[in-house]
Symmetry: C2
Subunit: 224 residues, 2 copies
DNA sequence: TCCCATTTTTAGACCAAACTAAATTTGACC
DNA sequence: GGTCAAATTTAGTTTGGTCTAAAAATGGGA
């Protein structure tokens, strides 16, 4: 039983639901429509269609979640998206900020063989350029214990592991400050007033990040 | 004045017209519809739309040809298609026969920067895996003097330079016979009865090709 | 418990891109 | 030059995906 042939729009909706239901396990019509820049009524239509295909469970007025069949499709899309992002950054020299939009197109290319070859060509990477895990061909993801940078205390030394937003402006800001995935950071001060932090970046300088930026950064223990 | 945003269907039509009008400079409605597996009436509709956008010149009942603006778009699509084919074969290890269909999808990805980076990554190749020239970013193509293998005489030694068809079965046949681009071939016999040829492939064996196969092969003088 | 703002769905319309069937044009042949 | 088959266009329909506007459901606060 193949993932069947889905239209681009159907795929976009499945992926949106997957991402949005990450924490709460259900996604709302409005949240989906906002993410896809469409109207709520269009989303409702699509949900009915996807429900008929057995890809989502839609309880009207109460949100939607993926069936296991839908989850498989969504994870496969995420896999393709993150593999292509990795290719663009590592092989073609793109910066993080630029690749999201292109990968949005590339993730819809349908060829199992292409995905698997690309995966092998890149050396079966476990994480994409933003630190997000890349599902393997069976949909399994490598988990990694990360914690919010915002929770760190003064004096802690950690490594930047994950940026949980593909917002261009955020990525450009990090770039400007000399921060990249794997950067080793020492917390120099935490300001209670606004939640901002002063940091020292090894092989970089002293920087300050606002709480708004910090909320998207996750770290892991610094290497020895 | 950008190539403007075109739908996938519009792009497909432009490329079909480009390819079909290669020899005669005009393409017929039926030929286009056959190539795209649609009906003639659908093509007529599309031609009107493309004509309104100034991309084609359509004289009803008398065929269609690209305007210079349409030609630019078509050449850009050809460029993308052939660069992706090259990537798939040279980097991902695909065989010639498999890449056409995937490249048909990849050629519609819109990102100038992506195309140019891919081109550089591949070392600015002049020819794709089938021997077809790859237009550069300005649409210029590298010409190469090739002649039909079918015109060769007994005893001639030549090199396979171009296969002018992306038909799967043809490419698989060539593969089975041990022929690839660049193969050095000696003509051993030409059979007047059916136009078939007996050939010897250097670093291969003795093979026989039908006139039907030969008609798609083009050669250049053998290297010294 | 009732009310009302917010969210979501329904109803009806539009557009692009395809189709079928019918009408029209062309051009080759007698 | 007239005729007819093939090629092409026109007319009208369908499907998928979106929209706007109106109706319905939900759930928190008085």
């Amino acid at each position: 039983m193949k993932p069947a042939d889905l239209t681009r729009s159907e795929e976009d909706h499945l992926k949106a639901i997957h991402v949005l239901s990450g924490t709460r396990s259900k996604a709302s019509t409005n949240a989906i429509s906002e993410r896809l820049s469409t109207k709520a009524s269009s989303v409702t239509d699509m949900l009915r269609k996807l429900a008929e295909k057995g890809l989502v469970k839609h309880r009207p007025y109460h949100g939607v979640k993926l069936t296991s069949k839908g989850e498989v499709v969504a994870l496969h899309l995420v896999r393709k998206h993150r593999l292509w992002e990795t290719f663009l950054v590592e092989r073609l020299g793109f910066g993080w900020a630029e690749v999201h939009e292109i990968a949005e197109q590339l993730e819809h290319i349908t060829s199992e063989k292409l995905v698997d070859r690309l995966d092998a060509y890149l050396g079966h990477p476990l994480f994409d350029p933003h630190g997000d895990p890349i599902p393997d061909s069976k949909g399994r993801v490598q988990e990694r214990p990360t914690s919010p940078l915002a929770d760190c205390r003064s004096g802690e030394q950690v490594r930047l592991a994950l940026v949980d937003e593909s917002n261009d402006a955020l990525l450009i800001l990090l770039n400007d400050k000399g921060l990249r995935l794997g950067s080793v950071i020492t917390v120099e001060a935490v300001h209670a007033f606004d939640g901002s932090m002063d940091l020292r970046v090894r092989s970089g300088g002293h920087i300050t990040l606002s709480a708004q930026v910090l909320s998207h950064l996750h770290v892991e223990p610094a290497p020895k």
